[in-house]
Symmetry: C2
Subunit: 428 residues, 2 copies
């Protein structure tokens, strides 16, 4: 049976949901040309009454059981009831579009196994990188590749905050407020600033890249909330920008997965990624490096990605072929080896605040050396007028357990150290 039109049930009518309705209305000719049938929003479910009462449905279950609805668009975010909505929709024979990275990263196996068992499609391009088509780029465009590394600026909120700090020299707290005013940070920004949002997206890309479910708990995660403007300004003078980078790298001892603030020099592809923009670099064995760049936050970019998914899945719905080819192919039994975070290698920026007396530098370099941390460069900026001295060290590449062992010993040596040493990874 060929469909006359595609009926959508939209669950979640917040910023992105409203953007989806707007774009579907404004670009209906584009959608019609690509799908061959009109796309109609039949029902909208939200906790609160909405500005389109004729479409309003209070209980999402009524949307899932509506036999006229072909496609359910889940935009409420979070774990529950999002998981229930996705699973029950697939079981009810609906195709699904979602922008929910949290639920995908947490219930990857359950969601894609259900989709496969029910032969239904689930599209989720908007879950990673905002408007950037990186999910498809990785899973289809680079389908033939042995993926060696994925790294990206995957969170528009934190990138906006870090851009503000770098450009304007303001504190984290001020930058966060500016981001909230500009509409790029939520009232409660914790999932963004503590790195969890980036980790969810990295888990999704890594699971796609290596064909097995890589979990958020496999990722070593550090956010940006304790970043000191002092370090932003010092490293800026050294020619670095600070970015929150999610990185997954294939090593011979397992996949090395981390989310952390990183210093990038001005020649790095990420250095020019400012404000709400995201960028993802994928390195394959044959492809070399492939970069995707675009807006990672904001109503229109996110809604645009959702509507593109709606159009793409609708092309299959009208020919009754949606879900026949699985969207995510992976081996449930395949176990991916994860590199312990302690074995992760990097070079670091270190800022020591030490007592201003002779012999301190020798002690610090001795303790670093004992833990096999080798110094690439060292400087002691003049901060006269203070009762302490500052030592800036850039290390050569070293294991995380080595640097942490050294800093633990140094920080515990109260006879030389005034306050806890700051450590930031340098991204090459």
């Amino acid at each position: 049976m060929k469909k006359k039109f595609i009926n959508i049930g939209l669950i979640g009518y917040g910023t992105v949901g409203k953007g989806v309705v707007k774009i579907l209305e404004e670009n209906k000719k584009i959608a019609l040309r690509k799908v061959g049938k009109a796309i109609c929003i039949k029902s909208i479910c939200d906790l609160n009454p909405i500005d389109k009462p004729e479409l309003y449905v209070k209980n999402f279950k009524d949307i899932i059981k509506d036999p006229e609805i072909d496609l359910i668009v889940e935009l409420i975010g979070g774990y529950e009831p999002a998981r229930t909505i996705i699973i029950e929709s697939l079981k009810a024979g609906k195709n699904v579009v979602t922008a929910n990275k949290a639920v995908l990263a947490k219930y990857w196996n359950q969601i894609f196994t259900t989709a496969q068992d029910c032969q239904k499609s689930i599209y989720y391009e908007a879950s990673v990188g905002g408007v950037i088509p990186v999910v498809q780029g990785l899973s289809e465009g680079l389908a033939s590749e042995e993926i060696l590394e994925i790294k990206g600026i995957l969170n528009g909120t934190t990138n906006y905050i870090l851009s503000e700090m770098t450009k304007n020299g303001v504190s984290y707290e001020t930058a966060l407020k500016n981001a909230q005013v500009a509409g790029f940070a939520e009232a409660d920004p914790s999932f963004d600033v503590n790195g969890i949002d980036t980790a969810n997206k990295l888990a999704i890309l890594s699971s796609l890249a290596w064909g097995s479910w890589i979990k958020v708990k496999d990722i070593s995660v550090k956010g940006i909330a304790d970043l000191n403007i002092e370090d932003v300004l010092i490293t800026r003078d050294f020619g670095y920008d600070i970015k929150l980078i999610g990185c997954a790298q294939k090593t011979k001892n397992g996949i090395d997965l981390s989310v952390q603030p990183c210093l990038v020099n001005h020649e790095n592809a990420f250095a020019t990624v400012e404000n709400e923009y995201n960028a993802v670099m994928i390195i394959g064995k044959d492809s070399g490096d492939v970069l995707f760049y675009g807006k990672g936050a904001g109503q229109q970019p996110a809604a645009s990605a959702v509507v593109s998914d709606i159009i793409n899945v609708s092309k299959f719905i009208v020919t009754n072929t949606a879900g026949i080819v699985s969207d995510v192919i992976y081996d449930k039994k395949k176990k991916i080896k994860i590199l312990p975070a302690s074995k992760s290698k990097a070079s670091y920026y270190l800022r020591f605040s030490v007592l201003d007396k002779s012999g301190v530098l020798a002690k610090i370099s001795g303790m670093l050396g004992k833990h096999k941390v080798s110094i690439a460069s060292l400087s002691q900026p003049d901060i006269s007028g203070n009762d302490y001295a500052r030592i800036i060290i850039i290390t050569h590449e070293t294991c995380r357990e080595n640097i942490e062992g050294a800093l633990k010993q140094i920080n515990a040596t109260k006879s030389i150290v005034k306050s806890k040493t700051v450590k930031i990874k340098i991204e090459i």
Copy 2:
């Protein structure tokens, strides 16, 4: 009937063809995991005998009529017999993968109408941007977008040559030889250096973006072969790099389509695209700017894109659903309005070589003004020791017919002009 494995007939066993065979062999586990069935090369056709005699087929018609072959990979390039191979393959019920931008740009309607009529798939990601998944990014990732502009560095050979000229200050001829030695330029590089290859790719992207066949003849094309190293060095000092840019822009009077060498300043996203790399910027109404970047030339990147296409279409072949959803959706009757090249707007770099006498500058600025070309900046570098003077002018934005009218008049004024004025577009 579910397939046991996918049989491929490969036509064209040059650099990319050999790369495809190598990647399919090396990454067969990746392909098997994604497709669910093994992908086998059953036959290879080439003009000359090959290193795999057991697979060699002399006549491509024998591959097309082989009932066991599911997928034909056309890698011979050029118009014929490539067109015949693609059309006859589709008619014989085969799906097709091609990297051939020339044949696609020239026979767009015939090829996609045949594919639609025969309900077969044609994948062609490798035809544009090398390994960059921009065909899919544009047609699916940005499916919902009203596309406002596409611009890109789409030819690895010319970008390599221009990088050599800029970095090493060598002439076009020397840079071309270096590119040939490095394997990034063919013995006969004319399609690359005269801009036709870029125009083919721009025609493909534009046809996808605006849903109607946009032809190469609609594009104003200028290559790089007459670029003078003098201008590369002068503009480098001004903070510009020279890139060959294909640009398609929606204006209220039609699509403005051009391929030409352009000056980009160091803040432009294209400035850092060096050597064999390509980059494509797509600007949508809701998405804003989205950038794709990666290797545009070289055996492995091109072959990687072809193998990804093979994997993607094979997923549909194993479930007998390939070609049911059309790959390219367009309206044969829809006419796209093209902006005449004379109406295209840009600002320009102009280098005048004039007789070294008083009053010349006044005459030149007068003639520019008469044609409504306004001067943004002007300099007369000291080139004493020569019998002529040099005037460098950067114009404000102006219509191409204005600037060409002014230069025609100026160049014809033999009493002031020593040699033909150089004009290069400035890309903002």
